[in-house]
């Protein structure tokens, strides 16, 4: 890893004193990546790209935004109508937020399917859950900023959840609000924190990547690379494979931004916030709906809040709930069935979260919530013990080369 490998004398001079080029070179060429990664492994890069898009468009939006209850809604309309291409920047920011969650949800379910949370990648997984939590906080506060009806009432409902905490609950809510209701101080601190959090996320992303590069990527068959024949360099192989994912991602994002910019938003948020008029149905953004369904499935407020946070808490301890030594679902026939059931369960929860909390929807929410926790707390630990897994291949190259290996 000496600086001599660089031709350019300026690069060589800098690298001798500040080895950033060696570092990049190391990640690009020397970092071994399993050669059998499928397109599901694009979503980490896509999440990073989403974060970058959000930060860049967000900084530009903040230049024309005013965090005041009397001006916030007008400021957003000014961006939409009078700022040059302001409508484009805002629609990108709005839709990329949704895409960010789509990408991260796929990233999470990929990790679940291929057992990417298992030793030695437990901390990598936990850092990922931390990023997910930070994203949810950031997205929630960002949705408040346009100060429409859903902004205001969403903020009221979600911040009120904390009042369920015994003894200190009400004090925490007052602290969150900066007063005794959602008002100007709330908007101000949410704007401040909404600007701060993406950079905290970026910091945790760096840790996430450091942890990833410690043992490298997991792969679809979930066994460790046994030697150089199992790996290839990140560049050009995975840079090119990621490029395909990035191109498709940008294409879909562009279609949403330019042709259906408000499809994932709620029409009520184009009505200025009115503390005296509650909307008929208060619904959060779609990416919170599964958790919203869990919250409302419980008749008790504190219980609902605990269960909602519990739904994320189980992800933190997942590496210790699923003790099966086999990572990939490809070799776990039972686990694979339960994985798909969990995915269906999550989607059903999301659907129920968008429905009014009465009648059959409450019953279904309870069943789906119970199944969610059953999966993590009972089924996974039991499967680790009782499941008969299929035999693992000897190396990554073996299934890739297949029968032709014997002939060669």
């Amino acid at each position: 890893m000496s600086a001599e490998k660089f031709q350019n004398p300026v690069v060589r001079w800098i690298d001798h004193r500040l080895p950033v080029f060696s570092m990049l070179d190391h990640e690009k060429y020397d970092y071994p990546v399993p050669k059998n990664l499928n397109y599901m492994w694009n979503f980490g890069v896509l999440a990073g790209l989403s974060l970058a898009i959000m930060i860049i468009t967000g900084i530009v939006l903040a230049m024309s935004y005013t965090a005041h209850v009397d001006y916030a809604f007008d400021a957003v309309e000014r961006i939409m109508r009078d700022v040059n291409h302001g409508w484009m920047i805002r629609y990108i920011h709005m839709n990329a937020a949704s895409f960010f969650f789509v990408v991260v949800y796929i990233h999470i379910f990929r990790g679940l399917y291929y057992g990417s949370y298992k030793a030695p990648r437990e901390l990598l997984w936990i850092l990922g859950v931390v990023i997910f939590l930070l994203m949810m906080a950031t997205a929630f506060m960002g949705y408040v900023l346009p100060w429409g009806q859903m902004s205001f009432w969403g903020a009221t409902v979600i911040t009120n959840l904390f009042s369920a905490i015994p003894v200190v609950g009400d004090s925490i809510v007052t602290l969150l609000w900066g007063g005794f209701s959602v008002d100007n101080p709330t908007l101000n601190r949410f704007f401040s924190l909404h600007y701060l959090m993406p950079f905290v996320i970026a910091g945790v992303v760096v840790l996430h990547i450091i942890a990833l590069h410690r043992f490298g990527s997991n792969n679809p068959i979930g066994i460790d690379a046994s030697g150089p024949q199992d790996t290839i360099s990140f560049h050009p192989y995975y840079t090119m494979k990621d490029m395909v994912g990035i191109a498709v991602f940008l294409l879909l994002l562009a279609m949403a931004v330019f042709f259906f910019p408000n499809a994932m938003g709620h029409p009520d948020n184009y009505i200025p916030a009115n503390p005296l008029q509650t909307p008929a149905h208060i619904v959060p953004e779609w990416y919170f709906l599964p958790f919203y369904a869990i919250l409302r499935a419980v008749p008790d407020k504190l219980g609902g809040v605990l269960l909602m946070f519990g739904a994320i808490a189980v992800l933190f301890v997942l590496p210790w709930l699923d003790r099966s030594p086999v990572r990939s679902a490809r070799f776990r026939p039972l686990f694979r069935i339960f994985f798909w059931l969990l995915l269906i369960d999550a989607v059903v929860l999301g659907y129920l979260g968008g429905k009014p909390a009465d009648g059959i929807y409450v019953v279904l929410s309870r069943i789906a919530t119970a199944w969610y926790f059953l999966h993590f707390l009972v089924i996974l630990p039991l499967l680790s013990v009782f499941e008969t897994t299929k035999p693992l291949p000897k190396s990554i190259s073996e299934p890739v080369l297949g029968a032709s290996k014997g002939a060669a």
Partner: protein
């Protein structure tokens, strides 16, 4: 099997958050000129719609995000915009004596509101607040179809329903009881171009105008969108070809 499960999940995800209107109403769907990726506004219809707004709606409803200069989008030239603006009285000031004063509007002014504040608006409308119409086409589910259906939706209430004083029966309104009296009956305004001034014609024109007001950059958005999608489609193809070429030597 897995692919089918996945497809079902995607379908559910896509339809789940589609926030449906009221549920107890059905909307009349129209084939609007601005629908679809190549949709554009109909300038003549927008000008007529503006006339309907000005002569009927503007009695109660403000459009405070719209400035006269924005009417260039409707196809008016600078002189016409100045003439339109000059027909309005706008409050300005304070002058050197510290007094607010009225003057004729200029292109840079926002459209004056019919009431000085919300309380005055409520007082003038039996306690109901006529909403600002700048964003109304985006602030309701299926905005344009909803507005059109609402405007043609005034009917006699079914005998079983007792309509309270100051309320009116409307097919398209959630709950069917609306505080706004029927605004259009047909031939409420005289169109200079002789276009259809039936209640359907007037409603469609004013809807066209309100959709523009809510999303004035829509034409630019779709125009740029077509170019961006075309460019990115080529990018997708090229990146797939490049990836295949690079990976050709990996076994």
């Amino acid at each position: 099997m897995m692919k089918r499960v996945f497809a079902a999940c995607v379908a559910l995800v896509l339809t789940g958050p589609a926030y449906a209107a009221g549920g107890d109403v059905s909307l009349t769907e129209r084939d609007w000129s601005f629908n679809g990726p190549f949709g554009t506004f109909d300038k003549a219809a927008m000008q007529r719609g503006f006339q309907v707004y000005r002569e009927v709606c503007a009695g109660c409803h403000s459009m405070k995000y719209i400035a006269f200069r924005n009417f260039a989008d409707l196809g008016y030239n600078e002189a016409e915009i100045k003439a339109i603006a000059a027909q309005y009285e706008v409050e300005d000031g304070p002058n050197d004596d510290g007094e607010m004063f009225m003057r004729p509007g200029v292109a840079a002014d926002r459209m004056p509101s019919p009431y000085p504040n919300d309380n005055a608006a409520r007082a003038g409308n039996g306690g109901a607040l006529p909403p600002d119409l700048s964003l109304i086409a985006k602030a309701r589910a299926n905005g344009p179809d909803y507005l059109y259906s609402l405007l043609i939706g005034y009917k006699d209430a079914p005998a079983s329903l007792k309509v309270p004083e100051g309320m009116y029966y409307n097919d398209a309104y959630s709950g069917h009881l609306i505080a706004m009296p029927q605004p259009l009956y047909g031939d409420d305004v005289t169109y200079a171009d002789g276009a259809d001034a039936s209640i359907e014609g007037l409603s469609a024109d004013v809807t066209q105008f309100l959709m523009w007001a809510a999303e004035p950059k829509m034409e630019a958005r779709k125009r740029i969108g077509v170019a961006v999608v075309f460019f990115l489609s080529i990018f997708v193809i090229l990146s797939i070809l490049a990836k295949r070429r690079v990976w050709a030597d990996v076994h």
